[in-house]
């Protein structure tokens, strides 16, 4: 647990700097509101799809989120596998191949059904 003390110190420093900066900006900076400040940033994309009804999201975001989370979970399992790979040997390799293959089937299905296209 002592190995985390430097990370804790770094986190405290970062939090202190963030709070100090935001607080100083609030105390010393002038506050002049105008419409442009609330728009999307110059190079940011315009928030196009209007939320319908009570601020509902278009379902495209749900699909993107699901794709992202599923492959995120897949990748996360590669870490403990890679770390203990030499101890697991061929058995571990076959296991991981089966796992990746199943998720790859999902990937192929999503691709085939046009899930990777935005419109």
């Amino acid at each position: 647990m002592n190995t985390y003390v430097p990370i804790l110190v770094l986190g405290a420093l970062a939090a202190g700097f963030a709070i100090f900066s935001v607080d100083m900006a609030r105390r010393t900076g002038p506050k002049r509101y105008n419409r442009a400040k609330l728009d999307a940033y110059e190079c940011g994309i315009e928030p196009t799809p209007q939320p319908a009804g009570g601020g509902r999201f278009p379902i495209k975001y749900y699909l993107t989120a699901m794709l992202f989370i599923v492959f995120d979970i897949e990748i996360v399992f590669l870490y403990p596998w890679a770390v203990s790979f030499d101890a697991l040997g061929l058995f571990g390799l076959v296991e991981m191949l089966l796992f990746v293959l199943t998720v790859f089937v999902a990937y192929a299905y999503v691709w085939r059904r046009g899930g990777l296209e935005w419109d």
Binding site: M1, G55, V100
Partner: protein, 205 residues
């Protein structure tokens, strides 16, 4: 893990145990603010605090790997996706009066019942086992990998099927009634449309 006999007990808490309780209280507070605030972006940011608190709790219990998975997947992905969703959909800035669904009491009952079930299951399963919090991490990536890929092979492989089912379900829900794929025919039909202006130019000249 050792049995309870060699443990000093609850009356002389160690520094780690005190830290665990304090972080738990902060996490609970952040979670309460998350579900009660009317400002969506604030709710997402308080969710970061709550999920980060969970990561710290895992870390204090020497479950290193789970702690960083918590940070990567929950804080790093789920909340970022939420914030992107808010950013890209012109969600109203400031308070949204319709953020409360009016099911507060039902939600409270469900939450308390779920928490009671979880506490009961965990206490029942680990009745007299203690984790040595001072020693080497018992949940590091190496230890987790060795145990997961040796003793929990079937659940691990079943997980891949679960991920497959999740993606298929997402496609079925979101692409309801849509054609499987734009066929080559419709693309070739679209081609002459692009050629229209040049044809017109050719006729004029």
């Amino acid at each position: 893990m050792t049995l309870a006999a060699g443990h000093p007990g609850f009356m002389s808490p160690t520094g780690v145990e005190i830290a665990f309780v304090l972080v738990g209280i902060a996490t609970l507070g952040a979670a309460l603010v998350t579900v009660t605030t009317k400002q969506l972006v604030h709710a997402a940011l308080w969710l970061v605090v709550a999920l980060g608190g969970f990561a710290v709790e895992y870390l204090l219990l020497t479950a290193e790997f789970i702690a960083w998975v918590q940070v990567l997947i929950y804080v790093g992905s789920v909340v970022v996706l939420l914030l992107f969703g808010l950013m890209l959909t012109k969600a109203p800035i400031g308070r949204s009066p319709d953020a409360d669904s009016g099911n507060g009491w039902v939600a409270l009952v469900v939450a308390v019942a779920a928490a009671a079930t979880l506490v009961w299951v965990v206490v029942d399963a680990f009745r007299s086992t203690w984790v040595d919090l001072g020693g080497a991490a018992q949940g590091s990536a190496k230890v987790t990998g060795a145990i997961l890929f040796r003793h929990w092979v079937l659940p691990f492989e079943a997980l891949s099927v679960l991920l497959l089912a999740a993606l298929v379900g997402a496609i079925v829900l979101s692409k309801r009634g849509a054609p499987a794929r734009r066929s080559l025919l419709s693309k070739s039909e679209a081609l002459p449309m692009r050629g229209v202006p040049s044809e017109r130019k050719a006729r004029e000249s």
